[in-house]
């Protein structure tokens, strides 16, 4: 057997004339972690789908464990010891933890009946190996996102995988959960498992990977050991140009007070949160997943009714809103975390996605003025540099970064005073990230106040003028940008958590 567990040699693949992969060679030695990075559309997912058997390569060959592999079905690939943990978690919400782990490979008695006690026993053993305690009969819908991720890993382990591909595993994890994931990866690697780790977060790649492969525009840029790379070099390899300014800054004085929230609580985890927001600033909100960040955003936006406290918009048209429609009228906008389910109509054209909230403004007697619509969409395309084939292209065919820009464009057309961004750059590639950052600064220049929720501490620290740290539904601290450090924010959050537990 060769020194490689997996060799994908000279892989090419095109879709309808568009070359997605050109002559890419990717090799893995056993028991190592390979970072696979590149902008959206670079070909990472296509390469992994070819590995998974979901696509057939036009040219090239796959040699796995020393043998050339023909086109294989999803089931055959799993049986051969390759597990893929997809970005959109591949679990059936209605089914239990144990049923999900062994879906398609349930332990059975001789007659074909399921051995349920064995199913749960084996599931519990796997979870124990990962160091987690979880009721295996609980439906997945009852789990937190982080717990679901761990169930996915247990599923991969149950398949006796020698090679595990993790597609953006950290996009939904934060802080301690991420450390738990890294701990698991390290112990898997010690057992000889090979990991292919796809991520947009370069810090993680540096933290966990032993080698990094960079793809750009469907071509292999290079594979290098991590210790021969630094962050600027890696970014340059991915984007193809040096990026001196990661987080664009603007010089500005603190503006007028625009919004005040006083001890607001809702029927969620959120408790007695108070904040002030000034024109032209970015207020960062940091904290673990589930710390109440999203709930804070929803409360400010009127999506969850307040059970106590009050929110006032200073100098706005109206200072009261009980639902999102009134909030929008008052000049508030929320760009939600999960753009596919809350922010974007993926099956509708870009045109409608951009103009939906302002249709009444560009209609006369209820009839849409197409020319006005065209102008607005064209203006948005130019201002935000949205890459699309035409305004009639369905939003699902845009890249993640461009989808996010369409969502932003939609809300900017309402001329808001306050924009709340929940994880604005999640699942967005490096190049588009910088464009979104630049756009945020442009909004600031127009006097718009931004509340930015993010799990990425470098982004929080790099972009925010002030940072609120949340935990257990409460705002536990405020840090100025010049005083902020990643360690400081994490410490504040974890110390607050310990305090909350004692209380």
């Amino acid at each position: 057997m060769s020194e490689f567990i997996l060799e994908m040699r000279n892989i090419s693949k095109s879709f309808a004339g568009v070359q997605a992969l050109k002559d890419v060679t990717f090799r893995c030695r056993p028991g190592r972690v390979y970072g696979l990075v590149g902008e959206n559309g670079a070909g990472k997912s296509t390469l992994m789908k070819i590995l998974a058997g979901a696509y057939r390569a036009d040219a090239g060959e796959i040699i796995y464990k020393g043998e050339k592999r023909d086109q294989a079905s999803a089931g055959e690939v799993i049986d051969s010891g390759i597990s893929i943990i997809y970005q959109e978690l591949a679990l059936v919400r209605q089914m239990s933890v144990a049923e999900n782990i062994f879906l398609g490979r349930e332990p059975r008695y001789a007659l074909g009946l399921l051995n349920l006690s064995e199913l749960h026993r084996r599931a519990a053993a796997l979870l124990k190996r990962l160091g987690i305690r979880l009721d295996t009969s609980l439906p997945v819908s009852e789990l937190t996102v982080a717990q679901r991720q761990l169930v996915e890993i247990a599923k991969a382990l149950s398949q006796n995988a020698d090679l595990i591909v993790m597609d953006e595993p950290s996009a939904i994890l934060a802080g301690s959960e991420l450390e738990q994931l890294f701990g698991i990866i390290e112990s898997l690697v010690d057992e000889g498992v090979t990991i292919i780790y796809i991520s947009h977060r370069l810090e993680e790649v540096f933290r966990i990977a032993s080698e990094v492969t960079v793809l750009k525009d469907g071509e292999l840029v290079d594979t290098r050991p991590i210790d021969q790379l630094d962050r600027p070099t890696l970014v340059e390899m991915m984007v193809g140009r040096p990026l001196n300014e990661i987080f664009p800054q603007t010089e500005h004085e603190q503006g007028e007070l625009v919004l005040v929230a006083e001890k607001i609580s809702t029927d969620t985890i959120l408790e007695e949160a108070s904040l002030e927001l000034y024109a032209g600033e970015i207020l960062g909100v940091a904290g673990m997943v589930g710390s109440g960040r999203t709930e804070l955003a929803r409360a400010l936006f009127g999506a969850d009714p307040l059970t106590s406290g009050k929110i006032a918009l200073v100098g706005g048209k109206s200072a009261r809103w009980g639902n999102p429609a009134q909030a929008i009228d008052s000049g508030l906008v929320l760009v939600p975390e999960d753009r596919k389910t809350h922010g974007l109509f993926t099956s509708l054209p870009v045109r409608i996605n951009v103009t939906l909230p302002i249709l009444s403004r560009i209609s006369r007697f209820g009839v849409l003025k197409f020319q006005a619509e065209d102008e607005i969409v064209e203006g948005a395309r130019a201002r935000l540099s949205i890459v699309m084939a035409s305004p009639d292209q369905e939003a699902q065919y845009l890249s993640g970064g461009n989808q996010q820009k369409v969502v932003l464009a939609k809300w900017l057309e309402t001329n808001p005073a306050v924009v709340i961004l929940d994880e604005p750059t999640r699942g967005v590639d490096v190049g588009a990230k910088f464009e979104i950052y630049r756009l945020m600064r442009q909004l600031n220049d127009r006097g718009i106040a931004i509340v930015m929720i993010s799990s990425e501490l470098p982004e929080i620290i790099g972009m925010s003028d002030r940072i609120l740290v949340m935990n257990h539904g409460r705002i536990v601290g405020e840090v100025a940008q010049e005083d902020a450090t990643e360690a400081g924010i994490i410490e504040l959050a974890t110390m607050a958590a310990a305090g909350a537990n004692r209380a």
């Binding site: 049986d79 893929i84 089914m95 879906l103 349930e106 399921l114 349920l116 609980l138």
Partner: protein
């Protein structure tokens, strides 16, 4: 959801989950009990062995078809054709049997074979031609009905004497047909709980993409489930022949909606992935007892449809509490 969480504040997480999941089903059974109390106090004939036997028999007719329908709905599919298939089945079985005891076997095989064939065609169109189940079975509703009515618009053929006797036979006080329904009910419950096929129905309905990526034989499972559903309709056609004695082409109209109604009242999600046999039984019994009670109380039969509609909305509103 949060209101109900607070309501169940003193309970553990798994107890709360149990209540959220099964609370509405308890409510359905509770409502059946209320109907029994109304029936017992308002009508002398309601709580008689004769009437309850009738209710059991009628529930069995709907129940068998509802079980098949439920399995299809679990996969996020639907089968609108079962009513028309019952109609064609009673005609085919009556014509083949033609009153002769020695033709019984042939009639049963022909009818079940018809169910098998229709199920295979449905699954083929859904799996291979990739037409939505709603459309496939909507077309099939029309086609099967058309075939039936072109065979005859008036009663044809007849059942053999023993076959007619089957309808009235009892084991102790319980009609054989009701026993048969309970046997199928138990079998379905076991299928869902103890076989991979059962789990795959939930997996496909819950998230077909995940099921596929996990190596679940999605197509094979769908062949199985559409065949089961069509065969359950064929069986129901045979039972109707036993009851009517002749191949009556008026049988079967609207049965598909009755079955779907029972399944929904039983808490099965039309979007698939969620549903229980015990819930479907509740739905079947609730419809059966309501219909019977309304007749007993002399309520206009057109009002029955109205009341059924209200029950559906009330039931679905209850299940909404389950949250997602």
């Amino acid at each position: 959801m949060n209101a109900s969480l607070r309501l169940f504040g003193g309970l553990s997480a798994s107890q709360r989950l149990f209540l959220r999941r099964y609370g509405p089903i308890f409510a359905v059974y509770g409502f059946i009990v209320v109907l029994f109390i109304i029936g017992a106090t308002q009508s002398e004939r309601f709580l008689t062995v004769r009437n309850l036997t009738n209710v059991a028999r009628q529930s069995a007719f709907l129940g068998i078809i509802a079980l098949g329908q439920m399995l299809v709905i679990l996969t996020a599919g639907i089968d609108l054709s079962v009513g028309s298939l019952v109609k064609l089945s009673i005609l085919v079985s009556a014509i083949v049997m033609d009153g002769q005891t020695e033709n019984q076997g042939a009639a049963i095989v022909a009818t079940l074979g018809l169910g098998l064939l229709v199920g295979l065609i449905h699954a083929f169109l859904v799996n291979e031609v990739k037409i939505a189940p709603f459309i496939v079975t909507l077309a099939s509703l029309g086609i099967l009905r058309g075939i039936s009515l072109s065979i005859s618009t008036s009663p044809v053929g007849s059942a053999s004497k023993p076959f007619i006797m089957f309808y009235v036979q009892k084991i102790g006080p319980i009609p054989v047909i009701a026993v048969m329904f309970f046997a199928l009910l138990a079998l379905t419950a076991l299928l869902l709980r103890y076989t991979a096929f059962g789990k795959y129905l939930y997996a496909i309905g819950g998230n077909i993409e995940v099921a596929h990526l996990s190596g679940v034989p999605v197509k094979l499972t769908r062949y199985g489930v559409y065949v089961i559903c069509s065969v359950s309709a064929a069986i129901t056609g045979l039972l109707w022949l036993s009851r009517m004695g002749v191949g009556d082409p008026a049988i079967g109209d609207g049965l598909e909606l009755q079955a779907i109604t029972a399944v929904i009242i039983g808490g099965t999600s039309l979007f698939g992935g969620r549903g229980t046999v015990i819930g479907t039984l509740g739905g079947v019994l609730l419809l059966g007892v309501t219909a019977n009670l309304l007749v007993m109380l002399g309520v206009n039969q057109f009002v029955q449809g109205l009341i059924q509609g209200i029950i559906i909305v009330a039931a679905v509103a209850l299940y909404k509490q389950e949250g997602d």
